[in-house]
Subunit: 139 residues, 4 copies
Amino acid sequence: MLLEFHVSTGIPTPVFRQIVDQVRRAIAMGSWQAGDQLPSVRALAEQVVVNPNTVAKAYGELVRDGLIEARQGRGYFVADRRQVYSDAERKRRLDQILWSLVSEALVLNFTDDEIIDALRRALSGFRSASGHEEGDSHE
Amino acid sequence: MLLEFHVSTGIPTPVFRQIVDQVRRAIAMGSWQAGDQLPSVRALAEQVVVNPNTVAKAYGELVRDGLIEARQGRGYFVADRRQVYSDAERKRRLDQILWSLVSEALVLNFTDDEIIDALRRALSGFRSASGHEEGDSHE
Amino acid sequence: MLLEFHVSTGIPTPVFRQIVDQVRRAIAMGSWQAGDQLPSVRALAEQVVVNPNTVAKAYGELVRDGLIEARQGRGYFVADRRQVYSDAERKRRLDQILWSLVSEALVLNFTDDEIIDALRRALSGFRSASGHEEGDSHE
Amino acid sequence: MLLEFHVSTGIPTPVFRQIVDQVRRAIAMGSWQAGDQLPSVRALAEQVVVNPNTVAKAYGELVRDGLIEARQGRGYFVADRRQVYSDAERKRRLDQILWSLVSEALVLNFTDDEIIDALRRALSGFRSASGHEEGDSHE
DNA sequence: GTGGTCTAGACCACG
DNA sequence: GTGGTCTAGACCACG
């Protein structure tokens, strides 16, 4: 399945992390399923106009998180879902990203309830966006 | 108003960011109000035992964010809490942060409820970590 | 604590992996303890005569495994022990390295018992090299 | 003697290495004896449905390891099981592999007994995965 | 064609 | 001084 990648330079978020986020999102939403092939390192590097090493770095992080896997000489593929991290580590990571969310959101002057409501909406947006999977596919 | 600042050098979070976060929190929580004077760069540097450059860098970021302002020769003050962003812009920024959070949390295999619960805890953790410690004021 | 690093080029094992192995060994044996500072990326790169990027790649892998951590602007330090991976993942990784061990050892014409004995010796060698840790075993 | 070869293209392990491993195993287990002829490159390539180059590369590695030998115009044969390495050299190589294994396993927080048990299972898994298929199968 | 490793070197962030 | 990101490009392994 084809996915539009967008990368911005000149923002604090590193390019390789932007790529990681977009692949993660595609997998989390079900746009990419286990077994699907990702764009090749070189192809994606050309598409978003960065060095292939940068894409390779992003893919490497996704491999280590167990989300994708490399097949020598053939490319990268979405992996079967498995739990790589211990529960303590998962908690640690969730707390860390929530902490930075809260810090940013409070500066934006949102109340607790507003933040929680926004999170609820984001979650159900994700869930329903992955609702399609019915038979229609086109490539 | 004087705030207890705690800075740890044994963790990955940069010192300057810890300072930024604590000032943000104090303002977000109302411990510091518009017009309040912040500790001087030198005083705070001595208090938390870091290089004054580090404090200056933290204050600089807060100025750029519009949270505090420098008054030449007099020091740093909490800025008027005028809303810098339009509601639409605030919403956009919050959603962007949430979008990234949600994809990471879902990939970590947390349920919606687990994520929301963890957010609630992070929010109340943030509150209790602010200036007052212990019980809430109820003025 | 100072550790002699040795790196060979011209062998199939990548340089960055040789570095990972040597750091891991130093930590596993207790030569390096939580809180100890590692050689800086540049210093180690000079010592073993490789590009700093290669050392950085090795350190990055160790960070992801939770063995060391970076403190911005200060360097890398041995982390407190924590379990990063799920039990299933730990098993997966152990099986994978045992599989390659067995494959190599059988080609070298060792019997099962010889392999197991050699493993026992290697384990007790490791334990005794880190001698301090807790009381003696008395098999 | 004919062996069932199984090659999977959906896993990270390269095809040529899967072939190498299976031949090694067959020889290590005695399913193939010195002087036995291996399937031709082309025949094996057809059997497991891969490119003949891949099989040729696998055979090449086995030749370099001294496990099989090419007889011009006639095909590949299992080599005499003369011992290529001195006992000291074999020991050195085994210890080197073990050294790396042990540091990784200890870092994964396995106990000595768990590692040894897992080794036993890997050894018997290797046996049962060889030509005979005694009855045991796992996945 | 695919990915994996490594170098040389630039530029930035942090203290 | 420290680490982090990124580029340009070489060379190798795998199929």
